[in-house]
Symmetry: D2
Subunit: 335 residues, 4 copies
């Protein structure tokens, strides 16, 4: 068995990792770190895990506790992985990091979108971008992986094959997406209060959401990205618009691109986020609108699944030479 440590184990992504690892055939859960909740029983934060991890508690981060870990899953607040980079990379364990710290290739882009200089530009090129459908072979051989966020995963899966195939132009791309509230994390705030979300829908981060940078890096296109908050706990739907070149049927291109993928379904049916809930699946579709010369491409995922914990495990499966689907589901909990 491979021993896995989790950093940021008390958050929603941490909880989802623990849920999935409870059924993983080859990964064994080792120390679970959660600084602000250190010392607390896991059941206080993750009551749904009570039967799977009886008596387990969160530990304060201590580098010596990483000894014996073969794999580190990091789901930390922004900036923390940069700060801990020496400790983590020096541990000898493989790393799958969900933070944005090492996702971008360029320190300039990082500073432009995150508004602060990167602390460890020397490491930027050494983390492999963890989207298996795009970089499977590099992930297989990676020591360190930076797993993409939920929005870029959805948008890149929908757009990348279309741009690569020349189905659409690479300027003027619009990604209009909606996310469930768990994407905002576990911290209680005015924005995550039940009463402000139930029965409502709103845009946020208009024109300057940081995930734009990843979408542009992955697709090579210029992207305007508008995220919305929707009244669900989980789910991402990305509705992507791009000017058609008229050369190919976008749906056929997507079918082709993902024909051999275990977790990607391409079909005529317009995808719904709930189809993916609790799973690592991505549901895609696309249409060409001749009247306006536009391609609309859609992707639905679970932001905590394929958009976070599921994808981290998918990457780790590759890194350890396991069946890529080990411990992961392709079927959402529906309805």
């Amino acid at each position: 068995m491979t021993t896995v440590s989790i950093l940021g184990a008390s958050g929603y992504v941490g909880g989802e990792l623990l849920r999935l690892l409870a059924a993983h055939p080859s990964f064994d859960v080792g120390p679970c770190f959660a600084n602000s909740n250190a010392g607390q029983p896991m059941a206080n934060l993750h009551p749904h895990l009570s039967l799977a991890y009886p008596g387990k508690s969160f530990a304060p981060f201590d580098i010596s506790l990483l000894q014996g870990s073969d794999l580190i899953f990091a789901a930390l607040p922004h900036g923390e992985t940069q700060r801990l980079a020496d400790a983590l990379t020096g541990s000898g364990a493989r790393i799958v990091d969900l933070g944005a710290d090492f996702r971008l290739n360029s320190a300039e882009d990082f500073e432009a979108w995150y508004g602060e200089p990167h602390q460890r530009p020397d490491l930027l090129g050494q983390f492999i971008y963890g989207l298996p459908e795009l970089h499977r072979d590099r992930i297989r051989n990676a020591r360190w992986v930076a797993s993409p966020g939920c929005y870029p995963t959805a948008a890149s899966l929908a757009l990348k094959p279309l741009i690569d195939a020349g189905v659409v132009e690479s300027t003027g791309v619009i990604v209009d997406a909606a996310s469930g509230v768990s994407g905002a994390g576990r911290a209680a705030s005015a924005g995550t209060h039940y009463c402000g979300v139930e029965g409502s829908f709103r845009a946020y981060g208009l024109t300057r959401h940081r995930h734009t940078a990843e979408m542009e890096m992955n697709t090579g296109a210029e992207v305007l990205f508008t995220p919305h908050l929707m009244a669900t706990s989980r789910g991402i739907l990305a509705t992507c618009y791009a000017r058609a070149t008229g050369k190919h049927d976008p749906l056929a291109i997507l079918r082709d691109a993902y024909a051999d993928e275990a977790f990607v379904h391409v079909g005529e049916a317009l995808p719904e986020t709930k189809w993916a809930t609790g799973s690592n699946a991505a549901f895609l579709s696309a249409r060409f609108d001749k009247r306006t010369g536009t391609v609309v491409a859609l992707a639905a995922i679970d932001n905590l699944g394929k958009g976070a914990a599921g994808q981290m495990i998918q990457c780790a499966n590759l890194m350890f030479g396991l069946d890529e689907t080990a411990g992961l589901s392709r079927v959402g909990v529906y309805p």
Copy 2:
């Protein structure tokens, strides 16, 4: 008092009309028609109205019962107003129709988008389009008004002043919108089952939703419209994209356009649908994204309020020379 008849009184729009009319100072509810539910006590379909309309029942449609009505609100299934046009227009009462039957100016456009020839093209020019912020004076003098649907109301309020002022180009406009389930009406179907909507989000009617025609008519722009179904009962958010000309600040233009409007709020804050729930208010905002040369304009309304029953009453207030705000609220039920 002005006596009002309602056609389609058992539906959601009918119920919202009845709720608002219960507090209207000048309109008195007369016969309420509801063919499929004729004979049923109103409380069976609208239990929330029990205290306001004790003992009232729905009647089967009978033209003779329209005698004595000064005003007819029609909230009928598609095509019904065309079929009843002679009876309604011949009754002598003023009419506010929520159907799509007489909204478009052109029989060609109707046929192109609705897939069937218009039955009464002779009447098309005689119904005034009931969006008071655009056509107030014409509505004041109208006998017959065709009140716009929820999506065109939201999108047109957000886009029309920007296009008129030359802030954005009139081609390549995208309207990406989300609606609450009540927009699909009261009929039970797979698509409105609670379990398929809760926790989910999906696009529908891709590239060919009929409301596109109204948006194009109102704004003069070429529009690609993508509606989504969201997990709320009420609310519309329209997120509109258009290529900027760079000439003006879109927010300033919107503020200017609606400075004197009782029901339209323009502000920096990104609008949320719940702010408008149960009211006739519209909340607007806009941003110019210099990086991609795009304007994003947003509008939030209640699809049953400003998007249906509220707007119908606003039109009727104008038609009868009343205070435009009579019986209407500018404050949503929040949270």
Copy 3:
């Protein structure tokens, strides 16, 4: 016009008071106090009120600002009204307080249920309990009113006539109730995070919720009360169980008791909380189960309406000799 001050104006009850007062024919909104949010524009906390109160801000509490107020609505955190009692009662204004501070008749009961001695037992008998259906005449003549909370309002309306009429025994009464999240107030916390509430249901405060004391005071019965948190923003449903004496039909007794009430509907139909959303209505029903010898009585209200702000205004209408229904709706916003 009567000038009204609001204490605790930035909370959910404050927002609901402001929403209702915007349409009240005789009450005019004066200073709005909100200590923790003092200085903030009202639109930051209550964006839905933007069109009704443009430019208005919250003030820090200052007793001198109460001069000129004829009426004070207090919706303060627990204990605050006791602390401010001299300032408020000395202001000369009439007071409607939503806090629990002056609801109970007995200082002993207060200490038993609230776990702390009452600071102003001298004033306990001087606040009239603000449930108009039970104490209309006393409220009419009151200077100071302590308006009941949402759970006791629902449970007392359902149970009091049955106990008074001897339909049920006064021991072994169980009130099993569910509340929307707004009852927990605006403060962000783990318990009000969207993700922990959506798709879930739970009991809380088992066997010792403080509102039990009010239910027992109002009905004269011994009550075991179990509140639940449900995945809605608003609404209370109280399902009440009591051993039948077999003497009378409980539904007939309720119909009789509330025949002349403007805001109480008694019917065969089992009440749903949404019928009352945004209104001051209460929907009641009851059944006698011969098999087990039990009466089940149900009441549905909006916890922010008849359970808070609506009832406060109903009391104030009585205190100022106005029509009891002024500014209040009997029709919920449904669906």
Copy 4:
């Protein structure tokens, strides 16, 4: 591998069975029957299953297709299993039936609660009641099992050990429970329309819900049962009240009763339905209220998991000598 047929495969329970079987190590999905949806691609009804069952369709029921099946899961409309009893029992396959047809021991009780005579009283004693925590050994040796519904599962798990241990009296027991909408099945109706459920809560089936009979059979107590419909897709919370004898701590009794159970968690924390979503877990707690002499016991399950499909598979695991937990999760999808 064991070949499994599913009757009623297009419903919600059918979908959940298929979801779980996709990951089951020993059960292989054979023919899936769905009369009203016969011939349809499975993906039309269960789009979330698209990746797991590509190309699979529903078959019309045909007894000859059962040849080769070792196990039949039946999730049929009420009465159908009685009608098909000869075909099913004659097939030689083992049967796990979710219908109510063979759950009760007594034809008299069946007629009293279901309002119709039982068609096959001869078979009543031959179906074993499929609640493993109560009847594990009998299930292990059963050919035919009648798996209990969601409400009786939750209530019986919470109450049975308390009644058996004499902690509570066996008369005057009240089960007040709330269910998610999926319990009402997939059929679209006024009662399952999104708009009537979102933001609402209501009781139904007052005093005479059919599941009462099972609760009484399982616990030996006289039970008054009140189900409620809550605004979630999944989940059951049963809040049970019974008069305490004062002899024992109810929580200790429950801990003891379920100490060795894989799927039952007993704890101080009040259970929330979402902890169990998508899993076969049951979360229990209990309190003794000395003041009123009452025990309150609570159980939370997923109505489609431990309340339906999960429990059916748990029974089948026992019947086939497999690990009882095979293919089942003890961890809910949370948040």
